[in-house]
Amino acid sequence: MSASSATVTGARPSGRAQSLIERLRGGDEIAYLITFASAATVILVTLLLVFELYHKSSVSRKAFGFSFLTTSIWDPVAGHFGALPFIYGTVVTSLLALLIAIPLGVGAAIFLAELAPPRISDGLTFLIELLAAVPSVIFGLLGIFILVPILRSVEPALRSVLGWTPLFQGPFYGVSLLSGGVVLAVMIVPFIISISREVILAVPGDQREAALAVGATRWETTWDVVVPYARKGIMGSIFLALARSLGETMAVTMVIGNDPKIHTSLFAPGYSIAAVIANEFTEATGDLYQSALIELGLVLFVLTMVINALARVLVATTTKKGSG
């Protein structure tokens, strides 16, 4: 208690007590505390999430150790669980999605950033970004009833052209790794387009002018000068799209075929981490089974965390400075 405060009734206390009370009256301390607590809640929730994943997967982790990641058996009867078929399915569908979405996405981004008049570019981009808002389950619905039948009719053509590779051999049922990959491609293409378009737009005009001045065609300017300049940002958008596709659940569950095995052919059914959790979580009888599924969730979490971090680094360094 400040001894120097005046004791006359009604006189305001002086010194540090004064500013504390005034701050309290002004509400600054409280405001700070409330908002600080809210911000801190985010960290707490995330820590809790990681803790729960780690803790509830302990039965499985103790039983299998690191071999969980390399075992390809998923046998609930015998109690043998391995993550490999799901990691395989997740990675294959995502890579296939990227293979389709990258040329499509970067191509469209180039058109929108370099060629289209600004109003058309904005309008089309608006339309494309709306695609990112379509819920996953609707992609799944369309996948089952439109995409899979289309792929079935396209399959003979694919087989005749690409059937010499083990990737396009074997029987085709419709629901397959291929269908999963194509659905994912449609879902992630807006992310690649949106971000790539922005980083390409951010490339300074003088780069283009310099190239055109020495006689390069529009395409050569774009492909050999502008795009390399924006390379890091485009890579970032790709990693972001990858992170999204790894965690995608519903659309993939509805078209991938739900077979926990590793097949080389894209025509074969497969399974992704998210899909198996969605299908089997409510019925995992026994602690080991449920724990194995939660461990799969942990694996997915770590995977997406790493990819997202890479994406962020790439996008940040590009939009901040420029060429890599």
């Binding site: 609930p76 899979v148 039948p149 629901v175 075929g257 739900n258 059914p269 089997e280 019925e283 009888t285």
Partner: protein
């Protein structure tokens, strides 16, 4: 004005949430095999007692066992009876016993989607085991053509569809295959979820039916009513006497005849590959899983009264949905067993 309207709408939505305070909501989950029957029963019972709602979610027998053991539902349902380990787990986790109550009998039929084949196919046990083991790959394999003289089967690959979720229907199917095929028994075995050698996964009886419906040259296994309601072709299966029998009320009831007399006290019994010339070999009981101790008195009353209703009036509704009613000795035994629920 608009602000008041917004608040009114808000209150309306909210109150829909809480107005039904008198309602007793009983949550159950489990087998998809009897789902059409349970769905009808609970609907009729709700009409009789509008304040009682039985919310049954068809998530598969595995789900039923898991959720009732975890205590997240009031009772479960399965067509694959719980094994001793699962019984013990329930006792450890929930502190009481879990009781099996048979409700109806049904059949698991092999469904197929074959263009140009409109006749009903005959399947031998060897054919079924071979197809699901992956050793029989084509529709015109000798194992199939021999039993189906007069049908021109194509040379296309058989697309196998099985369950992706934990399923009692699977249990019935693989229980049968284990009995008729040593190779199946050693390689794959029994369970609500098994390590399938081949095939696509469908979620629930609904998912398998849907998958077969959408996929040419495919075959799967579902409860009879799913094949009937969705007009999917289903085959006859050869029974122990060598006759190809179609699944229907008569053949399923015949399959249960022996078991009805010797029903164990806990009602866990398998009637696959049953003897008798009229028996359909892939028949089964299906059970409700009810904890022997139910804390909530209102729920206990509702559940026990439902069971009594099910054993009397409910049994009269089974045949319309192609499920066979329980044999009389079983009903009598069960009526006594309801009193075990405290």
């Amino acid at each position: 004005m608009t602000r008041r309207m917004i608040w009114a709408a808000f209150a309306a939505v909210f109150s829909i949430g809480i107005s039904s305070a008198q309602q007793v909501l009983i949550n159950a989950a489990g087998a998809t095999f009897p789902y059409p029957m349970y769905s009808k029963w609970f609907d009729e019972y709700h009409k009789k007692f509008p304040n009682l709602q039985f919310n049954y979610q068809s998530i598969g027998s595995g789900g039923g066992i898991q959720q009732v053991t975890a205590g997240t539902v009031d009772f479960g349902a399965t067509d694959g009876p719980m094994n001793d380990m699962q019984l013990k787990e329930f006792k450890d986790k929930r502190g009481s016993d879990i009781l099996h109550f048979p409700t109806v009998m049904g059949a698991v039929v092999p469904i197929y989607n074959l263009h140009g084949v409109s006749q009903q196919l005959n399947f031998t046990p060897e054919a079924l085991a071979g197809i699901f083991l992956g050793t029989i790959k084509k529709w015109n394999d000798p194992a199939l053509t021999v039993a189906n003289a007069g049908v021109s089967l194509p040379g296309t690959d058989i697309v196998v569809v099985h369950r992706s979720d934990g399923s009692g229907t699977t249990y019935i199917w693989v229980d049968y295959l284990s009995k008729v095929s040593k190779e199946w028994e050693t390689k794959v075995g029994r369970g609500t979820s098994v390590n399938w050698p081949v095939g696509l996964g469908g979620k629930g009886n609904e998912g398998v039916s849907g998958q077969v419906q959408q996929t040419p040259n495919s075959m799967g296994y579902v409860e009879l009513i799913y094949a009937v309601q969705n007009k999917l072709g289903y085959g006859k299966v050869k029974n122990t006497t060598g006759a190809f029998v179609q699944a229907n009320l008569g053949s399923v009831t015949a399959a249960a005849a022996g078991a009805a007399k010797d029903m164990p006290d806990d009602f866990r019994v398998s009637i696959t590959n049953a003897p008798g010339k009229d028996s359909y070999p892939i028949s089964s009981f299906t059970w409700l899983l009810i904890p022997s101790k139910i804390q909530d008195a209102t729920k206990r009353k509702a559940i026990t009264e439902f069971l009594q209703w099910m054993l009397k009036d409910g049994q009269n509704m089974t045949e319309a949905l192609a499920y066979a009613r329980l044999p009389q000795p079983v009903i009598a035994k069960e009526t006594k067993a309801v009193s075990k629920i405290q």
